[in-house]
């Protein structure tokens, strides 16, 4: 699928000016509203032991390297990428569930990295997480009521916990009478609502949603997404929405960040990214999602990536995407592209960004479709 034009000039379309000298013109990649979370140059490395015969070598996996991303108040930032891209590790580092190796995470201006557990504890009330698997994230021996009130007890919140549990169940669309039941009595969608109620118990401001709807059937998924949107409006929440389903991310996110092998490839407002992605990886990712419309799906040109994501133990030199990139040049192997605005209105980490309108799928516009 190489388009043959290896000489795509470093300038954007219509003669827009590229920023080559590292002057970060973030522009529309800035968070909407005051940033609640500011992450700067976050790095997380995990040591791994590899044995070859009797020789054991210690090596480092770079799960997240040098990622900067902010989340604004009442903003939803979507974080997408293939498995192994480091998106979940990033989410956990933001919440200090995993200690970052380097870099800074600020919550409302307060530096979280380096804080002791005691210092962090009061802040944990405001930083919550919802996990993917609603079956594994709830204790089967705790009633739903105790699961939801557990955080209230841990943080010694005063007041009527029973009433609070009932209010929370009501808030997430479950019956308040359900508090004495056990998780196995609920369906997947209902369990995910319980997980959300538990995350909301301490009135948080930021919630990391780690693949919250991936395990749910489509007909159920829609209800949970609506709920998340309603809760954001009512409770002024900020979301970091981690997912691999790009159509869901597009629907819920204000901004989207694309991650590959621990690095951000492209960050921008959701619609801008989906209609005018300029990074070849974003384009390949968007091209790979099948649209639920056979007419569009069969007419569009698919840009299929070859191979798999390389090992993060030994990431490629220069641009990390170059080994799978259809338009990689010798420069990509030696010089790592910075995540800067290159004349497309949002930052892109690619030496040769280019819009490819014909690869992008026309989104399904149900309003336009004739009903015969």
């Amino acid at each position: 699928m190489t388009d043959g034009s290896g000489l795509i000039a470093a300038s954007g379309p219509n003669g827009a000016h590229p920023q080559q000298d590292g002057v970060t013109a973030r522009g529309s990649a800035d968070p909407i509203g005051e940033p609640v979370i500011e992450v700067n140059e976050l790095v997380k490395v995990f040591p791994v032991r590899r044995s070859k015969g009797i020789r054991v070598t210690k090596r480092l996996v770079q799960a997240v390297s040098d990622v900067s991303l902010s989340i604004g108040s009442r903003e939803t930032v979507g974080l997408v990428g293939e498995s192994g891209s480091g998106k979940s590790t990033f989410g956990r580092c933001v919440l200090q569930l995993i200690e970052p190796s380097a870099g800074s995470v600020k919550y409302k201006g307060t530096e979280l990295v380096g804080m002791t557990r005691e210092q962090l504890r009061p802040l944990r009330r405001e930083l919550q997480i919802v996990f993917q698997d609603p079956y594994a994230s709830l204790d089967p021996r705790l009633t739903v009521g105790s699961a939801i009130s557990e955080p209230l007890e841990i943080h010694k919140v005063k007041g009527d916990h029973g009433q609070k549990v009932k209010d929370l169940l009501d808030l997430v669309g479950l019956s308040p009478d359900h508090s004495s039941r056990y998780p196995h009595e609920f369906s997947g969608g209902q369990r995910q609502r319980i997980g959300i109620a538990r995350a909301l118990a301490l009135d948080p401001t930021v919630i990391v949603l780690d693949e919250p709807v991936s395990a749910l059937d489509v007909s159920i998924q829609a209800g949970v997404i609506n709920l998340l949107e309603d809760l954001q409006d009512r409770l002024d929440l900020s979301y970091l929405f981690i997912a691999h389903d790009l159509s869901v991310v597009r629907h819920i996110s204000d901004r989207v960040a694309v991650m590959y092998l621990g690095k951000l490839m492209e960050v921008g407002p959701a619609e801008e990214l989906y209609t005018g992605a300029a990074h070849p990886y974003t384009q390949a990712l968007l091209s790979a999602i099948p649209e639920p419309d056979p007419v569009i799906e069969r007419e569009r040109e698919h840009m299929t990536l070859v191979g798999d994501i390389p090992s993060p133990i030994d990431p490629p030199s220069g641009c990390r995407f170059r080994t799978r990139c259809p338009k990689a040049q010798p420069r990509c192997a030696t010089e790592e592209p910075e995540l800067i605005d290159r004349g497309f209105g949002h930052p892109i980490a690619c030496h040769y960004p280019e819009r490819l309108p014909e690869v992008m799928a026309g989104p399904v516009d149900f309003a336009k479709r004739s009903v015969s």
Binding site: S247, P292, V295, E297, D308
Partner: protein, 335 residues
């Protein structure tokens, strides 16, 4: 790829034919009626998409006809592969059909591979269990198969073990094994669900190529309507162990008649859709399926008559729909 919409060869004897197919699991609490009378026709060289939510019976139907559900499952009705009845067939005879006439691949390729044998040898074993072929010739054939499913350096890779392959490459190995004896039908049960979208696209391309080059019919079981839209010629929508609707890919997505199919499509995120429309409620408990149409508890159009009998698939326009109100609902919409 647009030709696939029209060139589904629907002439002649179906290569796989299910009639009133039923699967029941007896439990302490009573019978779980997982599949309750399903008709499926798979024609030569076509790609049939089977969609449904978890618990709809889409996987159990095909596991049942392959005899892969264990002794506890009670299988009734008829399932014919190339005219041979599979229901009630002794396991020894069924072994000859499995892999030869009908092959199956699964979501998790690692569970289908033996971790202590080289992948080439596993394909050789597969070939030799159905064909009288020397190991040398069979090995050459396995290299050829690995090449066909798009594995680079197939000769070197044939002597590697499953753990040396990535998820997508393992799924290719399993596909190579499944097509080793040139089956008429390849049943793919959620083959791309565990894979990343970029790898999913590669695997769908492989399945599409096999269908075109070898004329193998593919049954693609999935919950992902996008995957169906990309590759299927015909679609069968299942709900609560029954067929809700079936038809060619175009009409199913363009003007679905069954309220469940419409609900599924309406619940997907799409541009210009501020608010998603979930289907209220949850699928029924198959221990005690509701009387009449199983979807009526979640259906916005349900009336008292819906509780009276199990709706069968009836021709309706260019689709077949199991809904007694399909006709009037369609009139109401176009008015």
């Amino acid at each position: 790829m647009s030709d696939a919409v029209t060139d589904a060869g629907q002439t002649g004897q179906p290569v796989l034919e299910l009639r009133d197919f039923r699967v029941t699991f007896p439990t302490h609490f009573g019978d779980v009626q997982a599949v309750r009378g399903v008709d499926v026709d798979v024609h030569k060289g076509e790609m049939l998409g089977v969609v449904g939510e978890s618990g709809s019976g889409k996987s159990v139907t095909f596991l049942g006809l392959m005899g892969l559900l264990g002794k506890n499952a009670r299988i009734e009705g008829s399932a014919k592969a190339g005219g041979i009845e599979l229901v009630g067939m002794p396991p020894k005879l069924l072994n000859r059909v499995r892999g030869k006439q009908v092959a199956m691949i699964f979501q998790d390729p690692l569970s289908a591979l033996n971790p202590v044998h080289r992948v080439g040898d596993q394909i050789v074993e597969m070939i030799q269990s159905h064909q009288d072929m020397s190991t040398k010739v069979a090995f050459e054939r396995s290299v050829e198969l690995l090449d066909r499913v798009g594995i680079p350096q197939p000769r070197d890779r044939a002597s590697q073990y499953p753990h040396e392959f990535s998820g997508g490459m393992r799924q290719r190995v399993v596909i190579a094994m499944a097509i080793a004896n040139d089956p008429d039908v390849l049943i793919a049960d959620e083959p791309t669900t565990a894979l990343d979208v970029t790898v999913q696209a590669q695997i769908l391309d492989v399945l599409q190529r096999i269908r075109k080059e070898m004329g193998t019919a593919v049954v693609l079981i999935t919950h992902d309507l996008g995957v169906i839209a990309r590759v299927a010629d015909r679609v069968q929508v299942m709900y609560a162990g029954r067929s809700a609707e079936k038809g060619d890919i175009g009409p199913i997505f363009d003007h679905p008649s069954h309220p469940y199919t419409r609900g599924l499509l309406a619940s997907l995120p799409a541009l210009g859709r501020e608010r998603l429309t979930p289907i209220p409620g949850a699928p029924p408990n198959m221990l005690m399926p509701p009387s009449g149409c199983a979807f009526r508890a979640r259906c916005p159009h349900a009336i008292d008559e819906c509780a009276l009998g199990l709706p069968d698939l009836e021709p309706f326009g260019d689709l077949e729909t199991a809904c007694i109100r399909a006709g009037e609902l369609s009139l109401a919409r176009s008015a």
